[in-house]
Every structure is written in C-alpha cells, then in structure tokens.
C-alpha cells in the first residue's frame, strides 16, 4: 500500500551541496524584497529574477544537458526550489515551465520541439502557463469543451480557458482541448503548445479577492495553430495530463506557502513563548518536518521513475490543510490584528495569507478530488 512508501530518504550529498549556493544567491538578490511581497511565495512574478536563476543553471535542471539542463536528480531541483520557496523568492515566472512544461515537452515532444523550447526554458527566458480549467469544468476536467479542428494550416482552435495562472505574462500555454470525437469520456483530447501572441487570443486577467492579478481568462477565437503545436499524440491528451498532474502534487510548494507568516509570527512571539504558543509552534514544526520528509519520499520515487500518485495526493491534501491552518493558528496565538494596509509586517502578512488560504485547496486538485484518489488507493470500491 502507498503508506508503505513513506520511508526515510535523505537528500543525497551532491544535491545537498547546492543549498549554500542558493542561500547566498537569495541573500544577495532578495535583500530589498519586503516580507509582505515575499509572502506571495510562488505567486510572486519577477522575470529578471527568473533570468538570473537561469544563468545559474537552476531552471530545468532535470533536463538533459543537450537541451540546456543539468541532467540533475529530482533531489537537486528539490533543494533549489525549497530554498527559494523558504525565502519567499519570486519564482512564479518560470515556475510552471520548470516544474512540468519542460518535462512534458521532453517526454512527449518532438525533437524539434525539444530543441526549440527547452534551452529557452533553462535560460529562464521562456515562461509557460497551463491551460486546463474551463468555465463549466472545474474539478470535472473531462468535461472541457474547447476544441481544435485539423485544417490545412494545422489546427483551428476555439474555446475558452479560465483560471490560467500567468497567461497575461507568459509566452506559451500548454492547453488541453478536444481534438476529435470519442466514445470514451477521456478520449478525443490532445495537448497543444499555444503561442500566446497568436492572433485570436485574448487574455483577460481576473482579479483575486485581494485585488491582485495572477490568473486569467483566455479566449480562443479561431486561433490558427501550426501543425507542430501538437504536443505528443493526438487523442492522448488525457493520459498525458494525468502524468503531468502527478508531478505537481507533492512538491514543497504544497506546504511552504505560509513560511513568511511562520517567520513573522515567531518574531512576534519572541523567545519567551507561553505554553499555548509553545504547543502550537511545536505542533506546526513537527507537522512541517514530517511533511517535508513525506515530500522527499515521493521525490525519491519520482526519481526512480515510479508514479506514486496516491502518495503524492496524500502529501498535497495534508499540505493544503497545513497551509490553510497556519493563518488560523497564528491569529489565535498573537493579539495583533491582521491589516490590509498600514500595519506591521506580521499584520500585513497575516492578512495577506489568510486571504490567499482558500486557494491552497483549489490549485492542483481540490480536496474532494484528492480524497477520492486516496480512497481508491485504499481499495475502497
């Protein structure tokens, strides 16, 4: 059973040796970033920062050297991203290309696609968005309606995507759309690499509840895609996407979103905690230590080429609950009231992350979807 997979897998020394370099890099490059901005975590966008990371060779590390990568283990990337996330570095620009689009192109793309996209991804110059959700298909991804029809120029794309993170500032979007008929609910779908500058594409940012713009509506109106924009096999979109989803479920971004709150809260509490503060801080720390080890165990399996999808769902759901509880616990431990403007770092960070928290159980699979996967993994039928 998947629970057996949660063994101890320390980070190999080679990967571990990257850590001090990242810490130095972060100390140099982020010193002026406010705690409130750092609290944006992996929603913080800074193209220049991403380019600098690319220069250091810290994007797309797992890709083969021939495409600009470093052929590094999954643990090497893990060390890089956990240090960046822990520092509240603005990693959003390259996040999706680093985490999944690069690997997806390596795995399913043509040689030409690999050579075209992967080196630019590794340089931190080519940003991707993921086009999955549609207005009437939230958790029910199989009900998408956007459609690509083969024509002489390649494919004619029509439809609409929504909640597409960074579409207003990315170069490409890998979209899952219908490309044919099928009796199977999961058939007849394909993935396309869509150049977001193409005519017929309108990207409209959606403000979130704090007024920030991270995600978008993407309108696709007779977009002419060249034949080479098809990624992987025609009609295999669903299985390609399923493999992709597993990659995004167990990473440290699933439990480190509230780290800046943790730091500001510890500063607010100080070095003489009362018993209530001791207990809650201790419990949070124990859970975080354990979640990190669980995430590393899944990383080990991914590194071995396995597909630990149930274990990954477990990490993701526990991580989301943890991240959502942190602001709830914080407001119980300190008397300071959260503020949207004008308050202390702690108050600003608390207000910001309290408001962001609902999204933690949306992105990357809702609670209901994840728990369904785990129940099936247990053999409930």
């Amino acid at each position: 059973m998947f629970i057996e997979q949660f063994r101890y897998h320390p980070i190999p020394a080679e990967a571990e040796s990257l850590r001090s370099q990242v810490r130095e890099f972060v100390a140099e490059n982020l010193q002026h970033l406010s705690l409130r901005k750092r609290a944006d975590s992996w929603m913080g966008f800074d193209a220049e920062f991403s380019r600098k990371l690319g220069e250091r060779g810290w994007i797309g590390m797992a890709l083969p050297t021939e495409y600009g990568g470093a052929d590094a283990s999954a643990f090497a990337r893990y060390v890089i991203i956990e240090e960046l996330l822990a520092a509240g570095a603005p990693v959003s620009a390259h996040w999706f290309s680093d985490r999944q689009s690069g690997l997806q192109i390596l795995r399913h793309g043509t040689e030409q696609q690999r050579q075209f996209y992967l080196p630019a991804i590794c340089r931190g110059e080519c940003f991707f968005s993921i086009g999955m959700s549609e207005p009437n298909s939230g958790s029910d991804l199989a009900s998408i309606k956007s459609k690509a029809v083969k024509n002489e120029g390649g494919w004619l794309l029509n439809g609409q995507k929504v909640w597409t993170t960074n579409a207003h500032r990315s170069h490409y979007m890998i979209a899952l759309v219908r490309s044919g008929e099928s009796d199977n609910r999961h058939g007849g779908m394909s993935q396309f690499i869509v150049d977001l500058r193409l005519p017929g594409i309108t990207v409209r940012p959606i403000k979130d509840l704090t007024g920030s713009e991270h995600f978008n509506e993407v309108f696709l109106d007779n977009v002419q895609l060249p034949p080479e924009s098809l990624l992987g096999q025609e009609g295999e979109g669903w299985s390609q996407v399923t493999g992709e989803l597993a990659m995004e479920r167990s990473g440290p971004e699933r439990f480190l979103s509230c780290m800046i709150l943790m730091y500001t809260m510890l500063a607010e509490i100080g070095s003489k905690p009362n018993v209530l503060q001791q207990r809650e801080v201790g419990r949070i720390s124990a859970r975080l230590m354990t979640l990190r080890q669980m995430s590393l165990a899944v990383t080990h399996l991914l590194d071995q080429g396995e597909n630990p999808s149930v274990a990954a769902s477990c990490v993701k759901d526990l991580g989301a609950v943890f991240e959502q509880e942190l602001p709830e616990i914080a407001q119980l431990l300190c008397d300071a009231e959260p503020t949207a403007s004008g308050g202390t770092d702690y108050a600003l960070v608390l207000a910001h992350l309290t408001q962001q928290a609902p999204s933690f159980s949306l992105r990357g699979g809702t609670r209901e979807i994840l728990r369904g996967i785990i129940a099936r993994g247990l053999g409930l039928r």
Partner: protein, 341 residues
C-alpha cells in the same frame, strides 16, 4: 421594538447599499448618503432614551439590527456611533451629533487633564467626529479633530482601524468609573457588537453558499447533491447556529450592564465560527469565490477581520478559562447554570 429596528435597518441597507458601494467604501469613499439616511431614521440614537431624543431601545432590541448590519457588511461606523451614544446615555450624558467611534486600546495617558499618546484601532478614525476612549479610571470623549495626526490603517476588509495620535488634547467629556472599568466597558461593548456582526456575515456566506451549491453543476449534477458538500454546509449551519445563539444570549443578558461571561462566550463562539464559515463557503464556491468580482469575499474578509477585533477567541477563552479554573470543579455546574463564573 426589536423587529422594527431590524426591519428598518434591513430596508435601508437593501435599498441603499450595493456590493459596489461596499468596495468603493473600502477604497476610501465614505458612504455619505447612507450615513444621512441612517441619521434621518434615528439609528445613532436608537439606544438613547426617548426623553433625550432617542428611540428608547434596549441592547436586546438591537441584536437583530446589528446582525443585519453585519449581514450587509455596512461600511460605516453606525454601530460604533449607536453604542457610543448608548454609553454616554447610560452615564447620564447627552448623545453626540455626528460620527462617533470608540477604541479599547490603552495607549493614552492623562496629565493635568490633558491627554497624550497613541489611540490605536479606532474604527473609522479618519472619518469620525468624536471618539470614546479609556484613560485610567475615566471614560473620555475626545474630538477627533484634536488629534495631532491620524495614521491610516485598514483591517483585512479595508475598514479603517486608524491610530489617532494625541498631544495634550483636552477631553470634551470625562466620566469617572471604577478602576479598570473604563477600558473593560469599551472592550465588552466592542466584543458584543462584533459577535453580532460576525453572526450576520456568517448568515450572508451561508446563504450565498447554499444558492451556489444548488446552481453549480459538476460531474452532471448540482454540487449540493454531493454528500461531502452537504456535510460541509451542515457544519457551516451548525457554526452559524452557535454564533447566533451565543450573541442572542449576550445581548439579552446585557440589558442592565454588560454581562461579561456571556459576551466572552459570544465572542469565542462567533470568532471560532467565523473561521469555519469563511473556509467552508470558499471551499464550496471554489475558484469563483476567490475572484474579486464575486461578492463572497466582501463577507469573508470581514469575518477574518472581526474575529480578531476587541479580543480574539483565544483572548476571551483565556479570560473565561482562568475564571472557570479558579472557581474550581465543584462550582463549575452551578455557575454555568447561573451564567457567571
């Protein structure tokens, strides 16, 4: 009288307050028209005796009114003004004309009749004419214009919670009280009304989530039919019930004077319910509820703010819990029944 108060408030707010206006108030535009209507309808004086020009209501008469204000997320200090005038009337003073706020912060000092220091967490400090504050054993009325400056601070809902800095300001009114009472009265008063506002905002998100769950279709059926959604909604309704029941009791028992333990219970139950209600309603709404356009956050951001104001669930739990422990095991049940530990 309770129904009249509540119905009047609901009618005014339904008629004159839209989601857009709440948002623009958060942006700094004080809803002048709405304030004028509320004044016209005598809301600031609802708790002032009739012979002093008020409506003669008691605290339990306005429980529903305050809940309605919370439900509509009214972006102005009408509750603060009404309660400030109530406190003045209770101590034999005439009500004030204009916008009156109050703060339970303890940052002021008094020296030879002059007040100095920082008065923090003043609701609508930038807009109010007067502010009630506690200094030592005295309850003071200060003119907001007498502040040296006003530091703009907003809670998670964009409501002003400003700091007024005073430098040798002369209070307009000074009411002597028992030591420690002045601050406590303001804190109890604030906790009492916030618990009702929270209850209202919870009712709002409960109704929104119910409607949404009945409309939103996923996997071929309204999500209201999924057992997981039903159970989450039941939890939300249970918490709404706890909040509602606890603040009804606190208002009813505070008719004569603020009833400390039931106000503590109300602030604890409503503040705890606030977190559950915000979490569940966002969970049920999914991505749409996370957008600025959809009005769910107007209520949830207030829940996240109000639960921390005038004492969080933890603050009041610790106070109450200590009293319970000091009373001891044998007194637990008799005092619980009597209503005070």
């Amino acid at each position: 009288m309770r129904d009249l108060f509540e119905d009047t408030m609901r009618a005014i707010l339904a008629d004159q307050l839209s989601a857009e206006q709440v948002i623009s108030a958060e942006g700094g535009e004080f809803p002048v028209q709405l304030w004028a209507s509320l004044e016209e309808n005598g809301v600031p004086l609802a708790l002032v005796a009739e012979d002093a020009g008020g409506a003669g209501g008691t605290l339990s008469d306005v429980c529903g009114l305050v809940i309605a204000c919370g439900e509509h997320c009214a972006p102005l200090p009408i509750i603060e003004t009404m309660l400030a005038n109530y406190l003045l009337a209770k101590h034999g003073r005439a009500p004030l004309t204009g916008i009156v706020s109050f703060s339970a912060s303890d940052g002021l000092l008094i020296n030879k009749g002059s007040v100095s220091g920082a008065l923090t967490n003043v609701p609508w400090g930038r807009n109010c004419d007067y502010v009630l504050a506690a200094v030592g054993a005295e309850l003071l009325v200060l003119s907001a214009a007498a502040a040296r400056d006003c530091q703009h601070i907003s809670n998670t809902a964009g409501e002003p919670r400003d700091t007024l800095n005073f430098e040798e300001a002369k209070p307009l009114i000074s009411i002597p009280m028992a030591a420690g009472e002045s601050n406590k009265v303001l804190l109890l008063c604030g906790a009492l009304v916030r618990s009702a506002q929270i209850t209202g905002a919870i009712m709002r998100v409960l109704m929104m989530a119910t409607d949404y769950a009945n409309e939103r279709v996923q996997f071929g059926k309204p999500i209201a039919r999924f057992q997981a959604v039903q159970h989450q909604m039941a939890l939300l309704a249970e918490q709404a019930s706890m909040a509602k029941a606890s603040c009804e009791v606190a208002f009813a028992l505070s008719e004569q004077s603020f009833h400390e333990d039931s106000i503590a219970a109300a602030k604890i139950c409503s503040s705890d319910a606030a977190g559950v209600a915000a979490g569940v309603s966002h969970g049920v709404h999914g991505a749409i509820g996370f957008t600025h356009e959809y009005p769910l956050h107007i209520a949830t951001r207030r829940l996240w703010s109000w639960r921390s104001e005038f004492g969080s669930s933890s603050y009041w739990s610790c106070l109450l819990g200590e009293r319970v422990c000091v009373a001891g095991a044998d007194n637990f049940w008799p005092r619980l029944v009597a209503g005070s530990f």
